[in-house]
């Protein structure tokens, strides 16, 4: 149990909960027993399917019932359907899953079922999924499952692109997405993480991604210049640590910027001057902090 306030029931409170729960328990156990019995009897009909819906609505953590539901889909409901009809069936499954996810956005089994549906539907709509993800990020922009799901959807979207250039453009769009997320909230460490992954990919891409003279990052990735990248990126990092010096995300990210991945490809004189500039920025920040709040930022307090 995470984040639920401790409450000790009084004697009366306990009795009243027991009384209230009694009806719920009867209803839940009756349905639970029916569905597990259907499962044991290997029933794959529509009634059994609808009963899994009802039970999963009461308890989405029942992984065995998600398994059983998939068995019913494969062994019965898919039979005789053409691609379009299958797509419609998956659409209704996705709607059910979506409702569940709004209620339980951190339940592994529900995300797992959604991914299974999308993997099996040949007409999956990846752009719709990206829009859905945006909604989930509005509720919690650090949700571990949602970020993982986004990476999955992006990989699926890339598979629909025929040439390398188009695939690289998807990665670049994702890079821009991390910029947006960081600009909204510099302490979104999940976005900084994803950025580090995308940078690695974009420096490996061989084709030019597309030309837009106003887009400096795009030019830098096309030129494969790690020095230019560092210079540009340090502006973002500086803005971030000035916005909230106590936030750890940006400091961890900066440690990476000054690690082997970048510095091994940069002339040491360039590296030294970038490091010195950054140190003096940090000193300036510390002095500001000291005069504003009477403390500096060196001890992590």
């Amino acid at each position: 149990m995470h984040g639920i306030k401790r409450a000790h029931l009084s004697k009366d409170g306990r009795l009243s909960k027991i009384e209230k729960d009694a009806a719920k328990i009867i209803k839940y156990r009756r349905l639970n027993d029916t569905v597990f019995e259907n499962k044991q009897r290997e029933l794959y009909n529509d009634k059994a399917f609808n009963e899994t819906t009802a039970l999963l609505n009461l308890n989405p953590e029942l992984y065995s019932i998600w398994n059983y539901r998939r068995d019913i889909l494969v062994k019965n409901k898919f039979n005789g359907l053409n691609e379009q009809e299958l797509h419609e069936l998956f659409q209704s499954e996705l709607r059910f899953v979506q409702e569940q996810l709004y209620k339980y956005p951190k339940c592994y089994w529900i995300w797992n079922h959604r991914i299974w549906c999308l993997n099996n539907d040949r007409l999956s709509d990846w752009l719709f999924e990206l829009k859905l993800i945006a909604k989930f990020f509005q509720a919690d922009s650090r949700n571990y499952h949602v970020w993982q799901y986004r990476r999955f959807i992006v990989e699926c979207l890339k598979k629909t692109k025929e040439n390398e250039k188009d695939k690289a453009e998807v990665d670049y769009d994702e890079f821009k997405f991390t910029s947006n997320m960081i600009n909204k909230d510099i302490s979104n460490y999940s976005a900084w993480h994803n950025r580090s992954k995308l940078i690695g990919k974009l420096f490996l891409q061989s084709p030019e991604i597309g030309v837009d003279d106003n887009d400096e990052y795009l030019r830098i990735f096309n030129n494969k210049s790690k020095l230019q990248f560092l210079k540009k990126e340090l502006i973002l990092v500086k803005t971030a640590f000035y916005t909230d010096p106590d936030d750890s995300s940006v400091w961890i990210y900066m440690k990476w910027l000054f690690g082997d991945y970048f510095l091994s490809e940069i002339e040491s004189s360039d590296a030294t001057s970038l490091i010195n500039e950054t140190i003096s920025d940090i000193q300036e920040l510390n002095e500001l902090e000291l005069s504003d709040e009477g403390r500096d930022n060196q001890c992590g307090s």
Binding site: H8, S64, R70, S196, K197
Partner: protein, 328 residues
Amino acid sequence: MSLVSEKPKFLAKELHIKYIKSLDSQKQFIEYWLSEHLRMNGLYWGICALFTMRSESELDREEVKKFILECYDDKNGGFASFPKHDSHILSTLSALQILKMYDMLDDVVKGERRDKLVRFIKGLQLPDGSFQGDHFGEVDTRFIYTAIQSLAILEELTEEIVNPAVEFTLLCQNFDGGFGMIPGAESHAAQVFTCLGTLALAGALDKLKDEELLVWWLSERQVANGGLNGRPEKLPDVCYSWWVLSCLGILGKLNYINEKKLREFILDCQDLESGGISDRPDNQVDAYHTLFGIAGLSLLGYENLEPIDPIYCMPCRITATIKKFPYS
């Protein structure tokens, strides 16, 4: 002022034992019925906490054995979380850990059942070295660890299984030194534990890169109130007293955090009225946080607790009896 409640300084062992024993007598409450899918894990959490408090005789060993046997799935050879539920690698490891701790492994897992069980676990490995949790294909470094530990307890690890699992695990390391659930996923302390645990069980810790960076990231999980979080800029939570601390323990770097402050944070999460430990002070307790709080205290060397093995999350005296891979 007398109204300010004193922070607890001691582990309320008797209360926690009472709390764990009470968990199976909550049948009047709906929550009991809604948690069947976690019952085997819950049993492991409770029993391992009892072992760590040297109070394992408080539960009836034969009752435990009966339940585990009811969860055995004769069709595919794994253990489920509850009778009639599907077997899964997570519940299979919990069952094996319980059997190992109570010294019932050879009694329950033998002959044809043993062969089927080993086949079930090995059959979950995919060509890229990862493991799926069951045949529906969800992949996660949690499942690699649980599969590898299951085989370690059975002393059935082989080069063919271990080497690709290690290779896959190494792909999950990130720019910050931490590990995620699959390659590309954000570092998360619980996944760092499963990845380091896998490497340790495989005898492959020498393949770990950026150890210093990883240890730094782990030590940065400690927040001002002494508790540990699982990712940067998240709230502290008692379960990370295990996920983070066990990693530091595996790497021999327990002193990289402030041990005294963490100990105080864990003790502060105790429910001194009904027993049990919660994620944060004054929250609702559960078996999961009770184990990981107590296990964390054990790693911190708390008095009169059984020393716990950071690789297996079982008492050291139990894991000392497991043959270590590579087998000589």
